[in-house]
């Protein structure tokens, strides 16, 4: 339930990966020594550690085509935990090194193995592994900040804050909490010395008018092949995010999710730890089960006591009968040009009012685009010749027919080759849709403003919202071979 050390690696200004922060927990190391006995392997010094880690991650010697240590085909299972092969006097295998990486950052930690080390125990027997992962993920969120693009300046200043952050969340190697994103919490004024204990995850108390904000976002993913032998796929998952400003040490709030009549049940529900209790019927529906039609279909009540900061109350998946937009994409090779035909149909159940809707048509492994001659039934076309990319901007509305088409020819006669991709060769190509529809969900799930209950003296202001967005929404060219994307189609 402890980690022996923590390392944070990122690109320096020059581009090389280097250790920007590290912390060893000597007392945990002391325990590691007595727990492992003769099989103890000490943690090497920073530069060695970095080298070994990069080799294991396949990031070392990037100039070389094949390096035996790095590229051996022998499968090393038990990921996400890596083995570092320490050479020299303290020879041995350092295990399990956990890593998470995102953007410019790699974070690593070494959990303590608190069960007999021989034979090597499964990761699942070490609680410190899941705790280590949580700590790393928390630090990652803290360091990268809320913005999707990390700035090196912000990263630097947040790295500088780490010593005082660690004093709070992991002073001696035992992770107690994850840092709050943003600035470290200033200790808030003590509360009236009541008998109710303040939750450790609540950094202070709210004073003032009660406001509860519940946002529901559904995300739809799809793979459409336009091919009889291949079933089209789509799935939907939703997240409910709350921001609650409610007075009291441990106020009670209940949010209820409801489905329209005949709505298919919400599946795979995961809840935030601040949810106080759950009804067993809420958890029964699962996406990996065969749906038997008898499952519970709401309302879904989530009683909880909110933390101060915004949080994800719950998430779910849902099975919907049709994809929101059905597309077909056909390419034909004609001498030095490509004949393109795209049709998109908006399903009648979907509200015809988008925040935006764009279709991206990238072309890989070809020369740069020359002449683009396209006819659109609606919207406008952006041509980016350097990227070999067409962006079809459909705007806020489909026409009344709910169907749009694009047809035409592209010649690839540019002087230089365009971008390449190992997957999209020959006629393997796709249209990728990006859209957002405010105030609707595919599953029909909604949060009724009146169903949000807050047990406190003052009458709260309650705001609810919902929206549908796309992610990984692909329509593959039906005249080429499309990659398989899920096992569900074969069973």
């Amino acid at each position: 339930m402890t980690v022996r050390g923590l390392w944070i690696i990122s690109h320096e200004n020059g581009g090389n990966l280097s250790i920007r922060f590290s912390r060893r927990f000597s007392t945990v190391e002391h325990r590691a020594k007595s727990l492992a006995g003769s099989s103890y392997v000490a943690v090497p010094e920073e530069s060695t550690f970095l080298q070994l880690l990069l080799t294991e991650l396949g990031l070392s010697d990037s100039g070389k085509n094949y390096v035996a240590l790095r590229d051996d085909c022998l499968y090393r299972p038990r990921s996400p935990a890596l083995e570092l092969h320490v050479d020299g006097p303290g020879k041995g295998i350092l295990w399990p090194v956990l890593t998470v990486s995102q953007g410019p950052l790699i974070l690593a930690c070494l959990p303590l193995v608190d069960v007999p080390p021989d034979p090597r125990p499964p990761l699942a027997s070490l609680l410190s592994v899941s705790q280590g992962l949580t700590l790393l993920a928390g630090l990652q969120t803290f360091l990268l900040g809320s913005g999707s693009k990390p700035d090196s300046e912000g990263l630097g200043s947040r790295l500088a804050m780490l010593p005082s952050v660690l004093l709070q969340v992991c002073p001696l190697g035992t992770p107690l909490d994850v840092p709050l994103p943003g600035t470290p919490a200033t200790p808030t004024a003590p509360t009236s010395a009541g008998t109710q204990k303040q939750p450790a995850w609540k950094t202070g108390l709210h004073r003032g008018r009660a406001v509860v904000n519940v946002g529901l976002i559904e995300t739809v993913r799809s793979m459409q092949y336009g091919n009889r032998s291949r079933q089209d796929l789509w799935d939907v998952y939703g997240t409910v995010t709350c921001k609650c400003e409610v007075e009291g040490v441990l106020p009670n709030v209940t949010v209820t999710l409801s489905l329209p009549p005949n709505g298919s049940p919400l599946q795979d529900i995961l809840v935030h730890p601040c949810v106080t209790s759950l009804d067993s019927s809420i958890l029964t529906a699962s996406s990996v089960d065969n749906y038997d039609g008898s499952a519970f279909s709401g309302p879904y009540k989530f009683p909880f006591s909110p933390p101060l900061e915004p949080f994800r109350l719950c998430s779910y998946t849902s099975e919907v009968p049709v994809p929101p937009i059905l597309g077909s994409y056909q390419l034909k090779e004609e001498e030095n040009q490509l004949r393109v035909s795209v049709t998109l149909k908006l399903h009648e159940s979907i509200k015809n009012s988008f925040e935006f809707c764009n279709a991206h048509l990238p072309f890989f492994n070809r020369d740069q685009m020359g002449v683009v001659d396209m006819k659109l039934s609606s919207g406008q076309l952006d041509v980016s010749k350097e990227k070999n990319l067409l962006v079809w901007i459909l705007g806020q509305k489909f026409p009344k027919s709910r169907e749009v088409t694009m047809e035409g020819k592209i010649s690839f006669s540019g002087p230089t080759p365009g971008p390449s991709d190992p997957l999209c060769t020959k006629l393997t190509a796709y249209v990728k849709l990006h859209f957002k529809v405010p105030d609707m969900t595919l599953s029909g799930c909604y949060v009724d403003q009146h169903s949000v209950q807050v047990y406190s003296s003052a009458k709260p202001r309650i705001v609810t919202s919902r929206e549908l967005q796309s992610k990984e929404y692909y329509i593959w060219n039906s005249t080429g071979t499309a990659p398989v994307s899920s096992g569900q189609m074969m069973m």
Binding site: M1, T27, S34, E45, G58, S62, N65, A68, D71, C73, L74, Y75, P77, S79, P80, L98, T99, P116, R120, P121, P122, L123, A124, L126, L127, S130, Q131, L133, T134, P171, L172, T174, L176, D177, A189, P190, T191, Q196, K197, P199, W201, K202, T203, Y237, T239, L270, V271, H272, T276, S277, L283, V288, S420, P483, V484, S485, S486, G487, M490, M491
Partner: protein, 943 residues
Amino acid sequence: MAANWAERISAFSRRPSGFLSGTTAEAFLAELLRELRDDRATYSVKILLLSPLCEHPTLLCCSDSVGEETALELMSVFAQCPPKSVQFRCHLLLALTSVLICTSCVKSHSRASLDFLDVLLQIAQDTSDIHTDGSQRPLRATACECLRELEACCPGLLSQRLELLGGLRQQETSRLHQAYAELYTLVLRNAIYQLTQETGAGAEHLKALLGGNTSAAWEADQESGLTSSKDSAILSSLILGPMGTVPTLHTGPDCKELRSVLSTLLDESYLLTPLCQATLLHRLTEVVAMVPGVPPAIFRTHLLRLLGTSEVSLLHATLLLKCAFTDSLFSSEDEAFILKRLVVLSQHPLLSTPEKLFYMDCILHFPENRPISCSDGDETLPVLLTPQLASALVPTVFNDSTTLLARFNMLSLVYLEEGEEGQGGQGLAYLYEHLSSLLSMVENGCSRELVVTFFRAAFLFLYYFCHVERYSNDLTKQLCQLYFHHTKLAPHLINLADQTQDRLSESSWSVGLLKALQRVITEAPLTQLTSHDLSRHLKMLARVAEEREIIQQSTLTFLSSIITPSSSSLCIGGDWRLGNDILGVCRRLLVHPSLDSLLTPLADVLQLLVCHYADMEIQDHARLYYTLLTTLSREKLAGVLAQGMEEGGRQVKKQSLSCLMGEGLTSTLTIQQTETAVFRLIEAPPEPRAGDINSNEVEKGPGEASASVEAYRDQFSDSSFASEITLQYQLVHINSHDCHFDQLFSIRLHFSLTDHHYEELGDISVPCLLRERPSTIVQLTLKPRKPYPTSLHASAIFTSPDGRTWHTTLPDIHVAFQQTFLPLPVPSSWGRGGTLSVFEGLWDEICSESGDSATSLFCCQLKEAALNTLVEKHFFPFLISDLSHKEEFKVLFFLPPRSHILLKVSSEEDAVHFHIATDNWELLSHINSYLLKITSLQEDTLS
């Protein structure tokens, strides 16, 4: 100064060993403590200064007594620090905890550790700030965390404080109750563990423990506290899966008190952060497992909340709960539900990749209620994981590499179990299709990472399904085509052949692949062959030639066609590397079992090389092979050539394959790495002392002291004057090594520095090193820039009797401070009088100057006899005054390039005084530790 500290501290934590080679641990520790006491330093700097003590306490405190002293120092800093510097005081507590635990002071119940424990308990109980601003809360939280760590490292330490801690936990209403709860559960868990180790302990003992009525349990506890702390078992988790056993405490069904404590803790666990909840849950799982009187059902009301959680550590703790109590807490429906949940989580779009991988690992080590086999640690599929369920986890090209491989592995296990019929067959077909689509991505030129992933997936596929010939044969075909278009994949393919051969010894797939590759290479038209392709082909053919079962005729035909001058320009080009590659193939053919049938074509190829290859060395080698082939009998030839290969066995093979340059007999061109150090350098014993050269009392040197100094200094106008020290080392074998390295020749030693205090060293050659002969003396000439102790990295290249060349690393050479001493460099004609006046001159100068000069006094208790021995033993070569002149010894150490340390040693009534004068104050700490060492040695030998 502050910036300087930041730099130094970061240099230390980056590379502690390197940092400490430039100073000593004692000196650095002393500096840190001094600065910590300095009022002028800011607290942010002081917090920085504590980090070496937190992270590497044992490097700085070399012994328990130093640890104890350091702790006392830190505690006095703590006592004097104003309460408002909360952050600094928190870090101080952490540093104290680290020092005391790591130097074993806590284990031995040293005074400082007991004092510290009192301080911590006081802070933990001090809730006086509750009605004010709560500013001391972080300090209390840190104190609790320190107490928890102390208890974790020395289990049982706080057993007797259980009631006190329980009370504190209950009272606390601020967020701090978490820290008390964590501390309390750990102490509870350890105390109960100790009770299980005592014979006859039962319900009353448990009651006494919880009720704080410790008088009954006191003595027994204290005893066991000491004994069990030696045993690491108490540190281990008690939840070990089906094979683990848990020590139990037999209380009968009546343990109301414990039950109520546990219920309260569980009910309030909701108020803890998920990480702490998970820890608490795990500790309580252990407690309930140890006390069968408490039914596991106590957890039941919390299960739904835990099973629905999105927090990985909470769900993990729940899985461990299941592992501990199986069907006494979880029904079979629960089990099915949890497994489905894990499958869902393993591919959930909202979770991070490491979390998903972790859940997949949990599926492969699923704690089943009724496991069929008790395979420890091995991956096994839970019975309930049907192909239908697993199909949610099939690998796809959209997965990242690690996910892809983990899924590939899991699904392979699933389909292997199902067999080739029905769903298993379909699944297998899918996996193969997936492998093919990866292959086509490699074909289309994907990233390096994806290439490696493909080969790992291919290995996995073969590992499980090599026996399914329709796939494995097709894979061979596809790989051959792949190689044909991408010869740069040669090392990957060789690696795949090696690993499958290694892991699947009964399968002949690997030989089949090599055979097919041989065909691809030898049957392709030569016209478009680039030299890159050729080199890779030759490496591949060399690997093919290692297989006894593969017929090699076509290889020879290929060799002969590429070197026949009429059809190729290879010979005229005379590329040395390609020549070697060709010889590499030839060499393997020379030991091939079918050599008899290869004789004539092989001889022809070698002959062609001898006559036409435009590189002299290649010609020579080819000639040697030719001679061997035509003059030696087959058996002898095999004997001569196989030697190198078979002795080293697999290692040589691997080596030659992986670096793709290695080649048996051309070993003079290949340097191999020894696995461990073969020999080392140890300090040679001093030579027998030459007669006292300076017996000449006649004063020939310059007269007056100052003049002497001036004349002495003039010598340094030649910058090379007395600038080097020469150290004698013995080169000796390291024992217990194979006889392979008994005789070594042409050893070339190479040294590299670990700091900037010395000039680079030249290499040293030693003709031979034979185990049975006396060791060789090696003279190391060091040219200091600053005369500090240092370490040198040393490596060597040498030749073993079988003609192979090796590279080896020697253990580091440590140059002690005293090894940099030289006698005063004056002409021998100056005699004692001359040196004495230089001494006096320098002494006066140092005492009157400031600058870099410094004087100091070192005292110690030594009897007269002991002092004489010490002087004779350690100072004799540096003695300036006469040995018989016992009232005051004058000693001068000259340290190149320009430093001097002068000693006047005299016995005073209470102690021996070493008056020290030096023109380089930075040397003081070194001379101090040197004197400390030799005088304490002297004391030891006499006492």
